[in-house]
């Protein structure tokens, strides 16, 4: 070296297989059996329809604030579809459909969105963590879990989700660095949906891609068309295989789009143009995949209608179950559970105080 270009050994790539116009790169297409193809489609559609129903419930005041997934179905379903049951999934807060794939019931999501802590009790089952609201904070937990897998010599992997906004948090950096240093079996899925509430991707960071941030950690990075379910499956498989084989973590940037509001408390008209939303509608992951499946002869109008009505019914059944369950929920006394395994004396005193208070309120209205 007097003055030379520094050779960075870490590769950053881009991947797209089924493009927005429907053309397919046969060579790159991952092998997926027909049942799984249909299952992928069903969950993506479920994500979309569940969103619509929740929006509806929210507008009626029957549930509280929630973050829709619409537009991001492929970037969520693709990655989780390659996990084994024993693997772990560490979500952020916008992964309803990934959580459902991993076994979380629709009613538990509705119950959570209605302000009942009971909704999160299913999370934590089946090697999935619950929703994590503080942006970027959960990736480190995935690293700890991955470290544990290595320590216990298990051939498992842990997958964690986060947004483009989350990459600005210090915890993203620390998680990526720790994962690389310990070669922990972690797959980092950044859903770059172009927005962090009102902040566009271009104001979040000056780097040309999120994927290239992997270079800072000596980790492979790949930028994937996040609306292309085939590409998401292919990239995720590769990353999961690498992790499982002891070759360490990978950063996957899924380039996608948040087609709806940030949460139901948000008004995107204040900060983004309809044009932009429209241009992304043309890249919709669902229609693109439906087209592919039709070409393949796996889907036709009738089959689509069958899936639609099965989904509609299952959502309705979940809403009914949730509303039924919630009738017997909400006893305020329950709040005294689960701060510690054993309640300290002063919390017991406060519990008795609340019991008296509720009785008084009952008496005096």
């Amino acid at each position: 070296m007097p003055r030379e270009i520094f050779e960075i050994p870490d590769r950053v790539e881009t991947l797209s297989i089924l493009s927005a116009d429907g053309s397919l790169d046969e060579e790159l297409a991952p092998a997926i059996d027909d049942d799984l193809l249909i299952k992928l489609y069903r969950f993506m559609l479920l994500g979309r329809r569940f969103d619509e129903r929740l929006l509806n419930l929210q507008r009626q005041g029957r549930i509280g604030t929630f973050p829709p997934v619409s537009g991001q179905e492929a970037s969520q379903v693709g990655p989780v579809s390659v996990l084994e049951e024993e693997d772990w999934m560490v979500p952020s807060f916008r992964e309803a459909v990934a959580e459902m794939w991993r076994g979380r019931s629709m009613e538990s999501i509705i119950i959570s969105a209605s302000g009942f802590s009971e909704g999160a009790s299913e999370a934590g089952e089946g090697n999935n963590l619950p929703v994590s609201v503080p942006v970027g904070s959960q990736m480190l937990h995935a690293v700890g879990i991955g470290w544990g897998m290595k320590y216990r010599e298990r051939k498992n992997v842990v997958m964690t989700f986060f947004g483009d906004g989350a990459t600005s948090e210090g915890d993203f950096h620390e998680a990526m660095n720790f994962a690389a240093v310990y070669r922990a079996p972690v797959v980092f899925i950044c859903q770059n949906n172009q927005w962090a509430i009102s902040i566009p991707r271009s104001k979040q960071t000056r780097s040309k891609s999120i994927a290239q941030k992997a270079v800072a950690y000596g980790m492979p990075g790949i930028q994937v068309d996040g609306n292309d379910i085939l590409a998401m499956v292919a990239a995720s498989r590769e990353a999961v295989d690498r992790a499982r084989n002891g070759e360490g973590p990978t950063l996957i940037e899924a380039v996608t789009y948040r087609m709806s509001v940030h949460t139901t408390a948000d008004d995107p008209k204040r900060y983004r143009k309809d044009d932009e939303v429209e241009s992304w509608r043309a890249k919709d992951p669902l229609t693109r995949f439906a087209g592919y499946l039709s070409e393949k002869g796996l889907l036709d109008e009738e089959k689509i209608q069958a899936v639609e009505s099965e989904i509609k019914e299952s959502i309705q059944a979940a809403v009914d179950r949730a509303e039924e369950k919630m009738k017997s929920m909400g006893d305020p006394m329950d709040m005294f559970e689960h701060t510690y395994e054993k309640r300290p004396a002063y919390l017991e005193e406060q519990r008795e105080l609340l019991a008296r208070e509720l009785k008084e309120e009952g008496n005096h209205g």
Binding site: G64, T65, F93, S112, S114, G115, F116, S117, V133, P134, V135, G136, G165, A166, S168, E169, G170, A196, I197, S198, I199, K203, Q204, T205, A265, D266, R270, Y271, M329, G330, P332, D334, M335, F336, T339, Y346, L347, Q350, L354, E357, L358, E360, E361, H364
Partner: protein, 328 residues
């Protein structure tokens, strides 16, 4: 003079200070184009441009740390942390630098910045969006912890906070943002930081509170008068730290009885310091144990149960009755 809610009143304070002093800079997540998720900074970017109303990347330590640098450079940053539950991400920047640079440099470097954050429950929000942990900041020497209780004092305190030579943590009760309107004068108005106020006079009992709790406290005080003929003196701290113990210790010398109210968890909470000051300065006048009506010692529950967590006028009333019925 216009009738403004607290969001509008804060917006007025920011706008006027920015007009008066080009060193005042507003920054934070979504404060620019979106006008803040609660709209406190609404319209400022149109008036002052994105050079002064700065949308930041999603990083609280970055926001706080950059603000410290701005303040060192002579600017007056007003940084927003979107919810107080995310202010812990920058706890180290505030503790290690904002609160200490004056001391570290013997006064040569100062950090006149404001860190704004919505706090408290009552708006059916998600987890981490309803916290009331002002005690963390109150225990931190070198910063000031201010919490207004309505539109008019919010505006006046915000102006004072911006002009304050020391770092100010400014918590805004979400439950008050649009709860009611007050006349807020167009002309400049300030309120001294570090001074409490008597907001209701009385002789029988002293209630001490701040922020969103002032409303249920006043309601309970009215009930006490109506139902029991009791005259309650109510003190609004306005500044939690540096704690002004003058008014409330004097008041309790007169009334002999005190009820302290806050939404924060009880143990090691703000009320404990108030109790201690009363014990240190009004001990011989106390006729009954001082009562604390507070949030319970747990994370505030999700919204289906939060009403039972947050002190209500009824709970305050009953604690007061108990304090009054206790014989000296």
């Amino acid at each position: 003079m216009a009738k403004l809610n607290m969001v509008q009143a804060l917006n007025l304070a920011l706008r006027q200070e920015m007009e008066k002093d080009d060193s005042v800079i507003v920054l934070g997540e979504d404060v620019g184009v979106d006008g803040g998720v609660f709209r406190v900074t609404d319209g400022l970017i149109d008036r002052f441009g994105e050079g002064r109303v700065v949308d930041t990347p999603l990083a609280e330590s970055g926001i706080a740390g950059m603000s410290i640098g701005m303040a060192i450079y002579g600017l007056r940053p007003v940084a927003e942390i979107q919810f107080s539950g995310f202010a812990y991400h920058c706890f180290h920047q505030i503790e290690s630098h904002a609160a200490r640079l004056r001391l570290r440099t013997q006064g040569a470097v100062t950090v006149p910045m404001v860190l704004r954050a919505p706090y408290g429950g009552g708006v059916r929000a998600l987890e981490h969006h309803s916290e009331s942990r002002e005690a963390y900041w109150a225990h931190m020497p070198g910063v000031k912890m201010v919490i207004p209780s309505g539109p008019r004092n919010a505006r006046a305190l915000m102006v004072s906070a911006i002009r304050d030579p020391d770092p100010v943590i400014f918590y805004e009760a979400k439950a008050l943002y649009r709860a009611f309107r007050e006349e807020v004068p167009d002309e400049e108005e300030t309120l001294p930081i570090g001074e409490s106020q008597i907001v209701r006079e009385g002789t029988d009992l002293t209630m001490i509170a701040y922020g969103a709790m002032i409303r249920p406290v006043l309601e309970a005080a009215d009930e006490l008068e109506k139902k029991k003929g009791v005259q309650t003196e109510v003190i609004d701290l306005l500044t939690v730290s540096p704690l002004d113990d003058r008014l409330f210790t004097e008041s309790v010398k007169k009334t002999g009885r005190a009820v302290i109210v806050h939404e924060a968890p009880r143990s090691f909470g703000p009320g404990a310091e108030i109790v201690s000051r009363l014990v240190e300065k009004s001990f011989y006048h106390l006729e009954a144990p001082i009562a604390r009506v507070t949030g319970f010692d747990m994370v505030i529950p999700l919204f289906a149960r939060e009403k039972a967590y947050i002190p209500s006028a009824g709970r305050i009333f009953r604690a007061a009755v108990q304090a009054l019925e206790t014989e000296p």
